[in-house]
Symmetry: C2
Subunit: 342 residues, 2 copies
DNA sequence: CCCGTTACTGTAAACGTTTACAGTGACTCC
DNA sequence: GGAGTCACTGTAAACGTTTACAGTAACGGG
């Protein structure tokens, strides 16, 4: 490995001068600078990040701790974080697959001294537990329910989104709504469920308007849940899956049973994954800008590091209702082409 | 920040002893060990990764450089890499969104001294260009065409997979096949296209059996391409989209035009993304185990670092033909439930 | 009683940088 | 011509670890 010392010797200057050239700070004579640069490229030198980090006390890296990595959700999230972080010249250290809180804490410990800040998304189980403690490192929590004790968090307006969807369904005349819920103890799922209850309440509908069946955010669980709902009495006239993957499963089940969507049963999802508009029928869903959420989390961490205006508190990522045809969008009955192609 | 020196002072020992406790190497008296551990947790000490890296000359990190981060493909890839890497106690540094070769090289330079090895996937354009040079760092290239000059690479059996699919289509009686190709200069797409030609040749069919329309791996491009194919004369009796996302777009277009799948036109995809089995009809496709590919790449890099048996060369990830109903799977005509639920 | 061994612990030199501080000429100005 | 300023460069001390080497005390054997 070739070091700053080799370059200095070869160029006939001190290591301080080489360092100055590479941090293009302070005054270095143009000739010297040129010479050093030349020697450096000839020798194939580039500064050693670790050594630099040790002395400057910044790693130029932020850590991202995720519970899991299945599905488009996480790739979008990483994409958002990566983008924001790279824009400020930072690196991204990713650690995923943390089944419980202990693993998250250990991942955080392992990252000590390797990152300047952290973005953490907790695994489903212990969401609202003991607040995360990261020593001096800026930390922002991602997802889950708002207001659980930590200073910084970016969360989705799950509750508002679900509420808006239920109101939409009710406005279409549905008074018996089947909801395919998320995993137990997943607080995003919990929040969406609360939103459903809010919406029902808004409409003056009671508990009997709601048929809740558990799912786990997978297509398979949506399939099973929808099949179960078809046997319910009274049978719901609308199915609201708390994410799009489960809605896809539900559509598949309904099709297998010969039930027409939306004529017989309306179906709605949550997330608006890219293919939602290409489904049959195109899926009415609640849009969430996941990569924006990741970007915001990263930006927040960076702001505590002195990049950009600093702020604190819980920030909420809004949702949008995307009305397509799976709930019988009035006025869009004829076969339409996906809006991204219009 | 609390350092090894603080712990040493507080515990009344030297920093060497504290270090020894944390690397649980060599002999340390049980009492001393206990005391140090106690002080360390009381003070909330954990070793500083950067400092450790500097002296040990290993960062316990491997770098992953990706062209992009859109879609499930990349999250699966990261998942595989992350898993393999964590199993050996390594960290994962991710850098994505590299539009061209220069950006890849700069990302590699930025990672110098921060990682012990690299997994690199090149952006679509300059795939087969100048081989990657990483100095002393072990490097494995991911995806693209095999045999382009680098020592280590993990690639998908794109060609075999596409060939198998074409043979399947031909065996079903199709002699006019529309292929929705991938982006220009994407070598995975190129390889799949070569496989298509192989398959056609196997069947003794000429160039006129093939209708090629360009796509870019997105649902939208699949939609457009399928629509274009419907206007071709003679019209193909089967559409083979070179990935599942485009197949989904194609299904959507066919539906909009009132064409029945598979009765009027067969549709096939490539990748076998999770929801392929939940589509209408369930999609016949070529299965690729993406996360396994990522894991293999990581394992290969790690092997050069002395973890596990070492090997070199180009490794090929096999594909499997998944016959479902979108091409008229004989004997599976009645509505079936997805196989993951059976 | 001395020596060798064992079991533990401390000292100090690295690792490759950055940066405060201290030079060193050359030039300007009075 | 001396002082002051300026532009540039070098010296050396950090940053928080690991680890070779040396040191110490206790103990057993001769």
């Amino acid at each position: 490995m070739i070091t700053i010392r080799d370059v200095a010797r070869e160029a006939g200057v001190s290591i301080a001068t080489v360092s100055r050239v590479f941090n293009n700070a302070e005054a270095v004579a143009t000739d010297t600078r040129r010479e050093v640069r030349a020697v450096a490229t000839r020798l194939g030198y580039s500064p050693h990040g670790t050594a630099r980090s040790l002395i400057t006390r910044r790693t130029a890296t932020i850590g991202l701790i995720l519970p899991d990595l299945y599905g488009e959700f996480f790739s979008e999230l990483i994409r958002g974080v990566d983008h924001a972080v790279r824009a400020q010249g930072y690196h991204l250290l990713v650690s995923s697959s943390h089944a419980d809180r202990a693993e998250v804490d250990s991942a955080m410990a392992l990252m000590r001294g390797r990152v300047d800040g952290l973005v953490v998304m907790l695994p489903e189980r212990q969401q609202a537990q003991v607040p995360l403690v990261s020593g001096r490192l800026p930390l922002v929590r991602l997802g889950g329910a708002p207001h659980n004790g930590d200073a910084d968090a970016i969360v989705v307006a799950n509750r508002d989104g679900a509420r808006a969807m239920v109101r939409h369904l009710v406005s279409l005349g549905h008074t018996r709504i089947g909801v395919i819920a998320g995993a137990d103890a997943n607080s995003d799922a919990d929040e969406r469920m609360s939103g459903v209850r809010d919406g029902l309440e808004d409409a003056g509908l009671g508990e009997d308007a709601l048929l809740r069946v558990a799912g786990d955010f997978s297509e398979a669980s949506g399939f099973r849940a929808a099949r179960e709902m078809l046997r319910a009495d009274p049978r719901p006239t609308a199915i609201f899956a708390l994410n799009d993957a489960m809605a896809i499963g539900a559509l598949s089940a309904l099709r297998a049973e010969g039930v027409n969507v939306p004529a017989d049963i309306a179906v709605a999802g949550f997330d608006d994954i890219p293919m939602a508009q290409f489904l049959d029928p195109p899926l009415t869903t609640v849009r969430v800008d996941i990569s924006a959420m990741g970007a915001r989390a990263a930006t927040r961490v960076l702001s505590h590091l002195g990049n950009g205006p600093s702020g604190s508190g819980v920030e909420i990522v809004p949702t949008t209702l995307m009305v397509r045809r799976s709930c019988g969008n009035p006025g869009a009955w004829s076969p339409t082409i996906p809006e991204s192609l219009a």
